[in-house]
Symmetry: C2
Subunit: 513 residues, 2 copies
């Protein structure tokens, strides 16, 4: 293998060659054989794993996350790349539809029409601070863009620049060795460099994971371009969780420890941390929660900005009328303006919660959560609908008979109301488990209406994410030699094709009343 240089731009004046190379790579990448795309993703995965010791050492020093967590995250990142490779080889994500020419179609003669999902062109991905591997340079959106056949530019997060370069060098070499065209991948540094690139007409889609304020700023830029583009930002989520009275009676201790663990993992710096737990008044969870919280060791927060915002958020919540602390964690200053913390958990009545200012209903990024104490489960759905907008997750802890559907009709009606509400306002409904720990599978959905995301049409975790960077294209009357392989009737790759599915006469006859 010959050495390949990672393409980078450090300031706005140096981005033009990067963008030009990405634009020039759009057609070659779209035409690149699936085996080559999959091979590139797998090679990145292999080499990340081969360099795990070095990469985790850099990541630990830059982020303060634990080696155990970082090793797990690197493993997830590698598996994620291979799962996308598997999707590329499987090929069913292109949703190939073939409607053959038909002079007896219900609307009269129709031409031969074939449609599949094709790459959109150059993608700009803004890396996140809190997942230096899985949502960063080689993370989910990057894997999805390359899997889709799109040139990829990653805007590095300032929280882990050395790790980003180390990862980027591995990726650039792996893609080069696998046969990707020059221009398929580059890194850029700095906020203004990112903003200027997002405004550039050569960028055809954007993605982002981070704060509501930064995500909104970028989404607005993408929407205000002369040519607006799709922008997939994953921003903020408070992840309401509800415990029914019967569930609490059955598993009070398990719920207390599971809740504290979910709130405290990675120092609560997870977008799926349960920020609110709706539990019956007199829930009796205090002692279990206190005990579980005492076993959580101090954890450095990711950066001084997050530390400052966390300390203010906790202080503000605890100062509001009716808010009762259950566990008051530490917020101890460490080097460089940062902070080391342990979990803080408080409680408030549903009445006080509803009448409190909007700030109490917003996300506090870090290991803080609020128990909202309700008198009747029937009041909870309305409170959630009133207090919250879109969320990544909504959680329900049910009793065995509620789970089995054998509880009283009244209890089941409440549970159904909450389920139906969550199905309109969250991306993932979690039953009898906690929302943190997001599985990477085809059925995962990591998204949700604003402010969970800027665009709720897709996911940022799981292989369905490939759909972000594809758009449908139809070919009418095209000769086989100009069709992409998935739309050829000889179907050289043996892919799933949906052929002549509409207006089928038998079924049509039933409908045509």
């Amino acid at each position: 293998m010959s050495p390949h240089t990672l393409n980078t731009a450090d300031d706005p004046s140096t981005i033009d060659p990067i963008l030009a190379a990405a634009a020039a790579a759009a057609v070659p990448l779209a035409l690149l054989a699936p085996e080559v795309r999959a091979g590139g993703l797998c090679l990145i995965a292999d080499r990340l794993e081969a360099d795990v010791d070095q990469l985790v050492t850099i990541a630990e020093s830059e982020t303060g996350l634990t080696p155990t967590r970082l090793r797990g995250e690197l493993k997830r990142t590698a598996v994620q790349l291979r799962l996308f490779a598997e999707s590329v080889i499987d090929g069913s994500y292109v949703d190939a539809r073939i409607d053959e020419a038909d002079d007896q179609f219900v609307l009269g003669t129709r031409p031969d029409l074939r449609r599949s999902l094709r790459p959109v062109g150059p993608v700009l991905n803004f890396a996140a601070s809190n997942f230096p591997f899985a949502f960063s340079v080689a993370g989910g959106d990057s894997a999805a863009a390359l899997a889709a056949g799109c040139p990829l530019i990653v805007k590095v997060h300032s929280g882990h620049p050395k790790l980003s370069v180390a990862t980027g060098e591995i990726m650039a070499q792996a893609l080069f060795d696998a046969g990707f065209p020059s221009g398929a991948f580059a890194l850029i540094f700095g906020q203004q460099t990112g903003v200027d690139s997002l405004k550039d007409s050569r960028i055809q889609a954007g993605s982002f994971t981070g704060s509501i304020s930064a995500g909104r700023l970028l989404a607005d830029i993408a929407a205000a371009r002369p040519q607006p583009i799709q922008f997939f930002g994953e921003l903020g989520s408070v992840n309401p969780a509800v415990v029914t009275p019967a569930a609490l009676n059955e598993r009070r201790d398990t719920i207390a420890t599971g809740f504290v663990s979910s709130v405290s993992g990675s120092a609560g710096q997870l977008c799926t941390k349960p920020g609110f737990l709706f539990a019956p008044t007199n829930h009796g969870l205090d002692s279990g929660i206190s005990e579980a919280a005492r076993s959580i060791p101090p954890h450095r927060l990711l950066n001084p900005r997050i530390a400052d915002s966390y300390a203010k958020g906790v202080a503000s919540a605890l100062s509001l009328p009716g808010v009762r602390p259950i566990v008051e964690g530490m917020c101890a200053p460490v080097a460089d303006g940062n902070m080391s913390v342990t979990p803080t958990i408080a409680a408030v009545s549903l009445t006080d919660f509803i009448s409190s200012p909007q700030s109490l209903h917003e996300e506090v990024f870090g290991p803080f959560s609020l128990i909202v104490e309700y008198d009747s489960l029937d009041d909870v759905a309305a409170a959630i609908a009133k207090a919250f907008q879109g969320n990544l997750t909504g959680t329900l802890h049910l009793s065995m008979s509620e789970q089995a559907g054998t509880a009283s009709e009244a209890a089941l009606a409440s549970v159904r109301t909450l389920t139906d509400l969550f199905a309109l306002m969250v991306g993932r409904l979690v039953f009898n488990d906690w929302p943190t720990g997001v599985s990477v599978t085809p059925a995962q959905q990591h998204g949700g209406p604003w402010p969970a995301t800027t665009n709720d049409s897709s996911t940022s975790v799981g292989t369905a994410a490939i759909q972000r960077f594809l758009r449908p294209v139809a070919f009418q009357g095209a000769p086989e030699h100009l069709l992409p392989p998935e739309l050829q009737l000889k179907n050289p790759r043996g892919l799933k094709q949906t052929i002549n599915s509409a207006g089928a006469s038998a079924r049509w006859g039933l409908l045509d009343s």
Copy 2:
């Protein structure tokens, strides 16, 4: 059947009950059985067809479109409704994915996760002027929203208010009779009413067909909301068509007549009208085009605004350096500031085209088209890439040997270059046919990058349009009785489910190098 009143709002002060009813209908509609949704769509179709004489009479007087065209459009609208009904019954559009709990998954234990596409909630659809049936009150986006299980509010186009009310009354009664919940459907009137509704937090998605200026205004409003939403605007397209030298030699006369017919149908007031035909210098098409154009009868334009804009656009194009008229059509004033027209077709050299002001590269809505004369086919792709942005369609007229793939390598290389370019910049590639006449089938794609649309992730024609108004939702560890039918393992509707598709060990072993 008991009579049901159509809900309407005529000004911004009266929209609140409409929006409140739509929001209240979101859960009931999401839970409505597919048979009921399909039944409602079919009942609308039946009753529109039963009232065809009355409806076409109103439409003709309001739009100036011919009875033949309007009858065809109503038929298309009815079939479109039934095709969506068929999709609802088929159910595969929900993309049901089931990943069962697995403690041997490649990333360790994974929970049971199931994902399908669910309705987004209330949809606001802005009707178009140029398709009073197929892109209006009962048109494609309306059918897609109701099929998806979303409450629907249609903002009526001012060009055909009486037809809109007549159509709306039929729809309201049919949906009521079919068992749709109250609040599932309403009409609103007036620009400000539409804008205020789009800004309302209860609306969860928008759609629009019309001009670039109006569409951009609405897209910007949707993006600037406190809660941004998806907005599917279909705006402007010039639909470049290319004739190769060999194709011209084989079918000069057919190309001349087909071109004129495609430019002139419905007085060129179609978003897929071929606005530019790239043909070899000395193409010899003038006489064929002139003769075909003489047989086109005068046609009233839709409204005075379109008439004014058309007259100005044609005059501006003809005044530019190097533009040579082939046929100069009539622009005769008729009643109410409107105009009756016949086609105008002109020609310009590729050199003059490239150096002409941007205005010559933009859409002229009406029966005008420009032939761009090239010396070498190799120059055409670069000219198209430079002059145009996104388009609904791109057309290639090939010779028999180019179509068969047996032409010279040089000829095929040019054709492949144009195909690859179009695959990045248009929604539909048309071979050896004309782009007007958009078939309603599962494989149709009516979309394209800006300015063809504001959002290129879906189509506005064909049954794939249902995906506009759906968003993915995952259920983790959910009991069967709380899962939507498509995600239950007992699969009561017998729908397509993709089960445990990732990390399959055999395939995985191949990739895990």
